[in-house]
């Protein structure tokens, strides 16, 4: 239970941080000098021990690999390559720590202030233990600001960068292969010279080639590079003036096509492409039965608050138009045999907790864990005993799920002739009452 409390605290901290960082955007824009101001990160103390790449690998595997992949090579369209010769030559430890602690608003890279300075030191030691056959050395100026013609930069960006990074540099959510280099969250962390060196060097093993000089994809000049940077900076200021943090231009009507792109960029790493889920990691959500039972509000609340204690982190940055698009995408699933759920939002279940616990142990615990802890207990079912879930799910939601099951998953109906079990109405109520008891004790 202590773990649960800690998770809630962390979420609150994360929320506070993401709100305060949103305010910082404005500060940064107004006082441009402040752009590369040192970020103190989480309140964790500076680490003074010995960096341990082995510990770093373990931490990397649990915290980073689902998007950045086991080898840190990234996945085009989802997460950039970070165990990468060129990235590591450019990125300072400070830059990496800052990125992890703050996250990248508008992307699946959520803030992780819960990772201590020690954790990050180990992770960085692991990243830097990469054996490099042909090392490169680059010194990045983290302070210098370049002057450039942002009109020219805009044109160059449209021709050379937008195909991968999106027209506004919004990144993967545009459906492209390049990360969101136009996002304020990136531009706040990256110095002008960091971008310039990237343009000059590219990133080995990725679609990002050198763009400056004769070696690369385009034969840009240094000044062209500065112009592009000027455009990125100017554009992000403008974007901030229009809509805070919106990863997709705010004015855009929500639509399923954008929803699919956003889903791929933000959700598919766990819920899989197509939203079919992966047992043990994330439930199937582009699913006939889930969508029939879950209201839009249920999904909005889940995305906004996350599921504390699970890998489902809070994504308040997706609120509004982006999430509307994602919902449209989820719901535009073609269904051969639609089901009709008669919802009763006011349903309140009453029953016997002890009996419910016995039934839960017999029928539910083998997948959902002895106390509904979910995947973290090693089962294939999600954490339905966690407070985060129970605080969003109504009794009716759980009731309907037990009756209906989830097509295409291991969650079979638990009542009636189709069911895995043949539970009575009252037995279902007992289980729900038992689950509610978990909620009350875990707060």
């Amino acid at each position: 239970m202590i773990g649960g409390i800690a998770a809630v605290v962390i979420t609150v901290v994360a929320l506070v941080i993401s709100i305060s960082s949103a305010n910082e955007h404005y500060r940064d824009v107004v006082g441009l000098k402040n752009r590369h101001s040192v970020f103190d990160g989480a309140a964790s103390k500076p680490f003074t021990g010995t960096p341990d790449p082995g510990a770093g690998l373990a931490l990397f595997t649990t915290n980073c690999a689902s998007c950045h992949q086991i080898d840190g090579g990234g996945m085009v369209g989802l997460a950039p390559s970070i165990r990468n010769r060129d990235f590591l030559a450019l990125a300072s430890d400070h830059f990496i720590k800052k990125t992890v602690n703050r996250g990248r608003d508008g992307t699946a890279m959520v803030a992780r202030p819960d990772l201590s300075d020690g954790d990050l030191t180990h992770i960085i030691a692991y990243l830097r233990s990469l054996e490099v056959a042909n090392p490169v050395q680059v010194s990045v100026d983290w302070e210098a600001e370049f002057a450039g013609d942002h009109y020219n930069g805009e044109e160059l960006f449209g021709t050379f960068c937008a195909s991968c990074h999106g027209r506004d540099g919004e990144g993967y959510s545009s459906g492209g292969s390049g990360p969101g280099i136009g996002l304020p969250s990136f531009l706040r962390a990256a110095s002008d010279d960091y971008i310039m060196q990237t343009l000059r060097r590219g990133r080995i093993g990725t679609p990002m080639r050198p763009f400056i000089g004769a070696a690369g994809l385009a034969n840009l000049t240094e000044q062209d590079g500065k112009d592009i940077i000027a455009h990125l900076r100017a554009n992000s200021e403008r974007a901030l003036n229009f809509a805070e943090n919106a990863p997709v231009r705010a004015a855009k009507e929500p639509n399923p096509a954008d929803g699919e792109k956003l889903f791929r960029a933000n959700c598919a790493s766990c819920h899989q492409i197509g939203g079919v889920g992966l047992p043990g990691l994330a439930p199937s959500i582009r699913n006939r039965d889930f969508l029939a039972i879950a209201s839009d509000n249920f999904i909005r609340a889940t995305v906004a608050g996350g599921r504390p204690g699970t890998a489902m982190v809070a994504r308040p940055d997706l609120a509004g138009s982006p999430l509307s698009s994602i919902l449209l995408y989820l719901r535009d699933l073609e269904i051969a045999n639609p089901v009709d759920i008669v919802a009763n939002p006011d349903r309140v279940c009453e029953g016997n907790t002890a009996n419910g616990k016995a039934l839960f142990t017999r029928f539910c615990a083998s997948c959902h864990g002895p106390a509904g802890e979910g995947y973290s207990a090693g089962g294939s079912g999600p954490g339905i005993g966690l407070t985060g879930f129970l605080s969003v799910a109504t009794d009716d939601y759980i009731y309907q799920t037990i009756h209906q099951g989830r097509i295409g998953t291991a969650m079979m109906p638990m009542t009636g002739s189709r069911g895995l079990a043949n539970l009575e109405e009252q037995e279902v109520n007992d289980i729900i009452v038992y689950l509610r008891s978990l909620q009350s004790t875990s707060i």
Partner: protein, 877 residues
């Protein structure tokens, strides 16, 4: 209102406007906004293969209001993984520019049956043409062509096709030419691109196409490039190699006269294991010298077991290499010091042994178009395969010979057999059993194909033009291919097309073919057709979906074949509906997938059997195109459902293929199941004598190359070049060399920013990046000539001339300044041939006006790399 959204569009417009006011360009290009499409609706995010080189990057076409607005790289495609080069990225810019919209008929047409030659050819001035309806134009063409076939036989009609056409179009063109017209005179731009690799593979391995795949790059222990500036011509491939080198520190070898971007890029990663051999024409000698050095010093690297079990001819090869290719004794031919040969032999040996021990890896070899473009091009391929076989670098992942193609679907041209003497699926027309099968599949009488098998088209593409000059070929179809890719334009293709009744299917108003066309049919281009498939250099079939919403008035080339095929077949008394059993769909176009299914069905039992896709469709209902889309490509062969579902066959030979019951071959495709080693030689003892005889080509109007096969064969067997410069005149001041002397080596090729000669010069971005014809020159040559960087000069050969800006070294003011050339060697990109203007009155940059028509007697490929020239000042008032 944001400016941003219109940047690309604006960039294109800006360039267009610039072209309009620049008197040098001479063309007023209409505002793309005034180009009207058939409708304002089209799907978006269509999957396609890039329209440019043969690497075949996955590309996504985006549309708005029915119009193609943008092209982005497909991050889910296994070849490019989200990367694309500057050409592909900007390919949408060249689509709605200066388009033809109506069929045009030349008022004064050439009429070869009656001896009339049009007086207005060599011009596409609108006043020489009248607009016509599709019905009228098609009726006219079919009437004329049927008349010629009846009077002179089918072989009097020639066709020049393209590796830009999808497989479906190529397949139908071959039916049309061989099956309907009864002509064996069918050629394609593939001939100038990689038929040397094709014929080399046939001779060595028994079937066409690379046995390797791109994923071999990341497995290899050494990578070599022969006559291949991959950084310019196949950038995605080069970048994958460069990244692999940087990560694994593998050694690389580039054999190229120039210090190219490929050479410098690899050296930048690690200079110590990056080797550059700057040789001119010495490749075969170098390969034999490396073989010599390996046998002398690294016997453990020689794959004796493999040679004995799986090859024939190796004894003779070993003996002749040992007796004639001691690296110390042939430095004059290799142009490389023996010590360097021994060094690379040691590296080669180590990589071969490493790969063999591991069961994966070894030496992976790429070669490009330049390597194929030799009058001993077929030998170049065979010689390379010899060395690969000697060291056991074939038939295992991570090694092998891998040719690259120039066109995105040159591989389709090869597989559909749209060339003289070929039938689809890697079998020649002389094979009677296969002929019977194809006649059945095509729905044409077998006797018709039997007759075609007896006909010849000596000299292939160049021979077709010489035969037209002689009056044997009376009509020509030019389909999605330009004549300016053929050598010696002023003396060969242009006079030939002046005499013939010429039909051009074109997209641009100012396309060079229009200068000589009697009838011009406006075609839909890549992206705006209904769709089709391309085959990429690793045998990967990929879809090219389109908007099915072309510029108003234009038709897909595939539709044009069906229509003209039906009309002419009927006029010739054939059963048109049996041969072309296709009907237009609701959208007004034929469905390419119907044609594709027929193509798949016909592949049954061949070494390119693709019928697994049909089995999958039968079992699951998923159409062949959808299977290809879902897997982002299927590599042939895919003879069973299981193989098709697994994405086809990654690698071929030595049982690397999955088993299938009626596989028609053993370890290699030859009937004896072996790899055939044929010794290839170089012998310069009669160099001057033979090249002196060849110099009559293009100069003496009565000298036809096809009448001098003996000379070509002698030149090929000795591994010579078409010309030999008068080096004794090097060092003279510009303008002071006698008029019959040509001291410089003269090579044409490609530049990174452009693809061939049509689209990228019309795209705003790439035409701005490299706008002018240039000539790369060594600084010492410039000093001796007395010319400076950026100066315009004339390059003069025996056959023609062009103007170009001198570009010296990496700091040149003339873009792109990315390569350096050896002393006595000049290089220009042919891409800019008509970037000044296609109008002969104003055109000064036509690269192939200068080149030599001598060709490889087997592959038919011309040598654009080894001509001789003189530099002259520009004396203009």
């Amino acid at each position: 209102m944001k400016r941003r959204s219109f940047i690309k569009y604006a960039a294109a417009t800006a360039a267009v406007t610039a072209a309009g006011v620049n008197p040098k360009k001479g063309w007023s290009v209409p505002d793309p906004g005034s180009i009207v499409l058939e409708s304002n609706k089209a799907d978006t995010d269509l999957l396609a293969a890039c329209p440019y080189c043969g690497v075949g990057c996955g590309t996504i076409i985006q549309t708005k209001n029915g119009r193609i607005t943008n092209v982005i790289p497909d991050k889910d495609h296994p070849t490019n993984k989200g990367l694309q080069c500057i050409k592909g990225l900007t390919s949408a810019e060249a689509i709605y520019v200066n388009r033809l919209t109506k069929p045009l008929i030349r008022k004064d047409m050439s009429d070869p049956l009656r001896g009339h030659v049009s007086a207005t050819k060599n011009s596409f001035d609108p006043k020489h043409f009248r607009e016509a309806s599709w019905d009228e134009a098609e009726e006219l063409v079919s009437e004329k062509v049927a008349e010629i076939v009846k009077a002179e036989g089918g072989n009097a009609v020639g066709l020049y096709g393209s590796g830009q056409l999808p497989v479906e179009g190529q397949w139908l063109e071959n039916i049309f030419m061989k099956g309907v017209l009864g002509s064996n005179t069918i050629e394609a731009n593939a001939r100038m691109c990689m038929t040397s690799a094709v014929t080399g593979y046939f001779k060595s391995l028994g079937s066409d196409t690379p046995p390797t795949c791109y994923d071999d790059i990341e497995l290899s222990d050494m990578i070599t490039f022969w006559g291949h500036n991959a950084r310019g011509s196949h950038p995605i491939l080069y970048w994958r190699v460069a990244d692999h080198k940087a990560k694994k520190n593998i050694p690389t070898l580039v054999v190229d006269p120039r210090r190219t971007g490929t050479v410098m890029g690899l050296e930048e990663i690690h200079p110590d294991n990056s080797t550059h051999f700057s040789t001119i024409n010495g490749d075969i000698s170098i390969q034999n010298a490396i073989a010599y050095a390996i046998m002398e010093k690294h016997d453990d690297a020689v794959a004796w077991d493999f040679l004995k079990k799986h090859t024939s001819g190796w004894e003779n090869y070993v003996e002749e290499v040992k007796s004639g290719y001691n690296p110390r004794e042939i430095e004059s031919r290799t142009m490389i010091p023996a010590s360097e040969i021994y060094k690379i032999a040691e590296t080669w040996a180590a990589a071969s042994i490493r790969g063999r021990k591991r069961g994966s890896g070894g030496v992976l070899t790429f070669w490009g178009i330049g390597y194929n473009q030799h009058l001993h091009g077929q030998h170049n391929t065979m010689s390379l395969v010899n060395l690969m076989a000697l060291t056991g670098n074939i038939g295992r992942p991570g090694c092998g010979p891998h040719s690259q193609t120039g066109q995105p679907n040159a591989m389709g041209e090869r597989l559909t057999g749209g060339l003289t003497g070929r039938l689809p699926f890697n079998i020649g027309i002389k094979d009677e059993a296969h002929r019977a099968r194809m006649a059945e599949a095509w729905g044409v009488p077998k006797e018709r194909l039997d007759k075609v098998a007896e006909l010849s088209n000596t000299g292939m593409a160049i021979g077709m033009m010489e035969r037209a000059l002689k009056g044997e070929v009376k009509a020509l179809f030019m389909i999605y291919a330009t004549h300016i890719d053929l050598p010696d334009s002023y003396n060969l293709s242009r006079p030939a097309m002046t005499k013939t009744f010429t039909v051009a299917q074109e997209i641009y108003l100012d396309a060079p073919n229009n200068l000589y066309a009697d009838v011009i049919l406006p075609a839909a281009t890549w992206g705006e057709w209904v769709g089709g498939t391309y085959i990429q250099s690793e045998r990967r079939f990929y879809v090219c979906d389109g908007t099915a919403n072309p510029v108003k008035g234009c038709r897909p080339d595939m539709d044009m074949v069906i229509d003209k095929g039906k009309l002419i077949a009927t006029k010739l008394g054939l059963d048109a509906d049996r041969i072309f059993p296709y009907k237009r769909k609701e959208n007004g176009f034929y469905d390419p997938e119907e044609v594709f299914r027929d193509f798949l069905r016909a592949s049954k039992g061949t070494d390119a059997d693709m019928t697994g896709l049909l089995e999958v469709e039968k079992a699951t209902g998923k159409s062949p195109y959808q299977q290809i889309r879902d897997l982002r490509g299927i590599q042939w062969p895919a003879p069973t459902a299981a193989i098709a579902k697994a994405g086809g066959t990654k690698r071929r030979y030595m049982a690397q293929e999955e088993y299938w019951p009626d596989k028609p071959y053993a370890e290699f495709r030859h009937s004896d199941g072996k790899l055939h080693i044929h010794m290839c030689h170089q012998d310069y003892s009669k160099y001057r004598e033979i090249t002196d005889e060849l110099s009559a080509a293009g100069v003496d109007p009565n000298y036809y190359m096809i009448d001098h096969y003996d000379t070509l064969i002698a030149a090929r067997d000795a591994g010579l070049t078409p010309e030999l410069p008068h080096e004794e005149f090097l060092g003279s001041k510009i303008g002071s060399v006698p008029k019959d002397k040509y001291p410089f080596w003269w090579a044409t090729g490609v530049v990174y920013e452009h693809f061939h000669t049509a689209k990228t010069i019309r795209s705003g971005t790439t035409s701005k990046l490299v706008p002018e014809m240039y000539c790369e020159m060594h600084p010492d040559d410039a000093r001796e000539l007395g010319v400076r960087d950026g100066q315009w000069v004339r390059i003069v050969t025996r056959r023609g001339e062009l103007e170009a800006r001198v570009s010296i070294g990496l700091d040149s003011v003339v873009k792109p300044a990315r390569n350096t050339v050896p002393k006595g060697f000049l290089f220009s990109p042919w891409n800019l041939s008509v970037a000044d203007s296609a109008d002969p009155e104003k055109n000064r940059w036509l690269a192939n006006g200068t080149t030599h028509r001598a060709f490889d007697p087997v592959s038919g490929q011309a040598d654009f790399k080894k001509c001789a020239c003189r530099v002259e000042p520009i004396e203009r008032a």
